[in-house]
């Protein structure tokens, strides 16, 4: 489905300095039973956020009042594991519009782009700078500038550019999705299908 347009996002960030955060942590399998895309944010990082008796784990970052914002900053290899788009839905539904990491798992990255969450890959050094700055001062703001493909730590002005292909960038800026594109070339696809051997 079409999604919100993404242009320039300025926000505080929630730091999660752990590597290999897998999709089973982002949304455990037992919460994949919905048949509509609603309510997944409630179970984002469920088993890191809640004890088994459903009380809050006070030390987990989402349960600390000092951290909030629309940007989630995770350690290297964020989103590894399953193809469940529910992980990206949970991130979005919780209120994040951007995930920053030094490395993303492929399918998670693609799923984010398909629902309007911007994955921003930065260098390991810049990632550490963000973690350090947010740790010292949780009110630290980041600016994610999609048109210029630039991420900036606002207090110091330190910035880095990030990659995104022109096609996906245009989709994000305009809130388009792939099906819009594919339906426009339906004739080409039908012709191709007629000539496919299998």
């Amino acid at each position: 489905m079409a999604y919100d347009k993404f242009d320039i996002l300025t926000s505080t960030a929630v730091p999660l300095p752990i590597e290999n955060v897998d999709t089973d942590q982002i949304i455990p399998a037992r919460f994949l039973k919905a048949t509509e895309r609603v309510g997944f944010g409630d179970n984002l990082f469920r088993d890191w956020r809640y004890n088994q008796d459903n009380t809050l784990k006070e030390d987990f970052v989402l349960n600390q009042d000092k951290f909030s914002g629309k940007i989630l900053v995770g350690g290297k290899n964020f989103g590894s594991g399953s193809s469940r788009e529910h992980a990206a839905w949970a991130v979005y539904d919780y209120g994040f519009r951007c995930v920053v990491s030094s490395f993303f798992a492929d399918i998670f990255r693609g799923n984010c782009l398909n629902i309007g969450v911007l994955p921003v890959q930065v260098s390991a050094e810049f990632l550490q700078k963000i973690f350090d700055a947010v740790e010292v001062d949780p009110s630290t703001k980041l600016e994610i500038n999609l048109p210029e493909q630039k991420i900036t730590l606002l207090p110091t002005g330190e910035s880095e550019s990030f990659d995104i292909n022109d096609y996906k960038k245009n989709n994000m800026l305009n809130g388009f999705d792939d099906i819009d594109y594919l339906l426009n070339i339906k004739k080409d696809i039908e012709t191709f299908a007629e000539n496919t051997p299998l």
């Binding site: 489905m1 300095p17 752990i18 590597e19 290999n20 897998d22 089973d24 942590q25 455990p28 399998a29 037992r30 994949l32 039973k33 919905a34 048949t35 509509e36 895309r37 088993d47 088994q52 350690g75 290297k76 290899n77 590894s80 594991g81 399953s82 193809s83 469940r84 788009e85 529910h86 990206a88 490395f103 993303f104 798992a105 492929d106 399918i107 693609g110 799923n111 398909n114 629902i115 292909n165 022109d166 096609y167 996906k168 999705d177 792939d178 099906i179 594109y181 594919l182 339906l183 070339i185 339906k186 080409d188 696809i189 191709f192 299908a193 496919t196 051997p197 299998l198």
Partner: protein, 470 residues
């Protein structure tokens, strides 16, 4: 420019409908498998747009992820699971998609039944809303997992939009040593590459060790490609592949077979083809593997000690967090650790060959009293073979019970959950925190290692229990 191509290039390039400048390729999909968990929102999407399924004959539906593995003839008691299963059936019926639901003779795990009925074919592009779709690469297909938005795209247009991955080849020569199975080969590769070592790549497995493997073994290897971050993995089809595929329900027959074979026989990597990355290992050095941490890259030879934090790739904090969750220490030996559960099954190791291997160890022995064992065939076809080959008798004699097909404790969406704190030896594919139930602790291993643990009640080197071949 050289005209030589890799196997991956040949299949990918022949499926590109349209190329976008500085963007993804529009890739035509030959086979689409759907299951109950990742498809409802996709069907809802096309419903909301009022568009039909473009090629219902190219999509196949089966129920597997949240189905119970006992009493499948009774109504599903969990209302949320029951609702997802009902939605799948309704959607399949509404759009004219073949549907092998719970209770159907052809029901089973999507990546087990696809090959069994010949839906999986060499040179095809195959997708499913499940990351272990890479399994089908064993036949020389390009197969990979997709998200629900992409499931919707395939339903609507039979295409997805993907940037072409880079090419990696993993060469392993030599023979598998005693007690070593395809699962160990895969866990070894992942331990060398880490869980992100192949991210951005599509892998071709080449060399003697893979050529010697059965199709079931190749499926196990390709299945685990995603666990090193690769989008998928594939093995060039050969006589073994064609022999497996021939005469299955959905494979071409007669003149169509000859035509298909003419195409399939071109599916190999040309001699001078270039890979973006190439790795080579000596297969004879691989021993039975076991994992000790919370991702599939944290694995080692079963006789080794858990590495020290300063000796591994990645951050020490993350590593120690992982060991703390497992309640293990750096330098621990895994051998002799008491275990509580054994799970034999999943799209990784739920095929007949896996049950044969398990039975070869437990035969003439008894299940340890402290172990709860879940033996779950990947499909009804596997279940039938277990019975026909006399494997069920061996299992029963040793105190094991056979359950009904499904994904089961691999991701614990149904009632097959390992309780918090309990230690399970599992033939599945992920040892993530809580993967097999909240608080569960998982050791990934082969069916042989699982069997050795099941009869001794602790982590045991299966080679100690194997009959010497003279």
């Amino acid at each position: 420019m050289s005209a030589t191509k890799t196997l991956f290039d040949k299949v990918w390039d022949s499926h590109v409908v349209h190329k976008i400048q500085d963007g993804p390729d529009v890739l035509f999909i030959d086979r689409h498998m759907v299951h109950e968990v990742t498809s409802p929102v996709a069907f809802l999407g096309i419903k909301n747009r009022s568009i039909p399924v473009m090629h219902p004959e190219k999509t196949f539906a089966t129920a597997d992820h949240n189905t119970p593995t006992i009493n499948q003839h009774l109504p599903v008691t969990d209302p949320l699971s029951a609702n997802q299963l009902k939605m799948l059936e309704e959607n399949a019926n509404e759009y004219g998609i073949s549907y092998w639901g719970l209770g159907h003779a052809k029901n089973g795990i999507v990546h087990v039944v696809g090959p069994e009925y010949g839906i999986t074919q060499p040179g095809a592009t195959i997708v499913c809303g499940d990351s272990h779709t890479s399994t089908h690469g064993a036949f020389g297909a390009i197969a990979f997992g997709i998200g629900t938005s992409e499931v919707e795209m395939v339903l609507a247009t039979q295409c997805i939009m993907q940037p072409k991955p880079k090419r990696m080849r993993i060469n392993i020569n030599g023979k598998m040593s005693k007690g070593v199975t395809p699962k160990d080969v895969a866990l070894f590769i992942i331990s060398q590459l880490t869980t992100s070592g192949a991210t951005g790549y599509f892998v071709e497995y080449a060399g003697e060790i893979f050529r010697d493997m059965s199709m079931e073994g190749r499926m196990t290897v390709c299945n685990l490609s995603i666990e090193m971050g690769a989008r998928g993995g594939m093995i060039a089809p050969d006589e073994k592949t064609f022999e497996y595929v021939k005469d299955r329900e959905f494979t071409p027959k007669g003149a169509d077979w000859d035509k298909a074979m003419a195409y399939w026989e071109t599916l190999y990597t040309d001699e001078d083809a270039i890979f973006d990355k190439e790795l080579t290992f000596d297969g004879s050095l691989i021993e039975p593997m076991i994992t000790y941490g919370t991702n599939p890259g944290m694995g080692m030879g079963i006789s080794n000690d858990i590495p020290m934090a300063n000796a591994v790739q990645g951050g020490a904090t993350t590593y120690q967090k992982s060991l703390k969750y497992m309640d293990f220490n750096e330098g621990d030996s895994m051998m002799g650790k008491p275990i509580d559960f054994v799970f034999l099954g999943s799209c990784t190791n739920g095929r007949i060959e896996d049950f044969r291997a398990f039975a070869s160890i437990v035969k003439g022995r008894k299940k340890a009293d402290n172990v709860t064992a879940w033996l779950v065939p990947g499909s009804h076809k596997v279940e039938s073979a277990i019975k026909e080959e006399g494997i069920l008798d061996i299992l029963t004699e040793s105190g094991f019970e056979l359950r009904e097909p499904g994904c089961s404790a691999c991701l614990a969406m149904n009632d097959d959950k390992v309780p918090a704190g309990k230690l399970a030896v599992s033939t599945s594919n992920r040892n993530f925190e809580g993967r097999q139930g909240p608080g569960s602790r998982t050791l990934l291993a082969s069916p042989l290692v699982a069997a050795a643990a099941a009869v001794t009640g602790k982590v045991t080197d299966p080679r100690e229990l194997m009959v010497e071949l003279v």
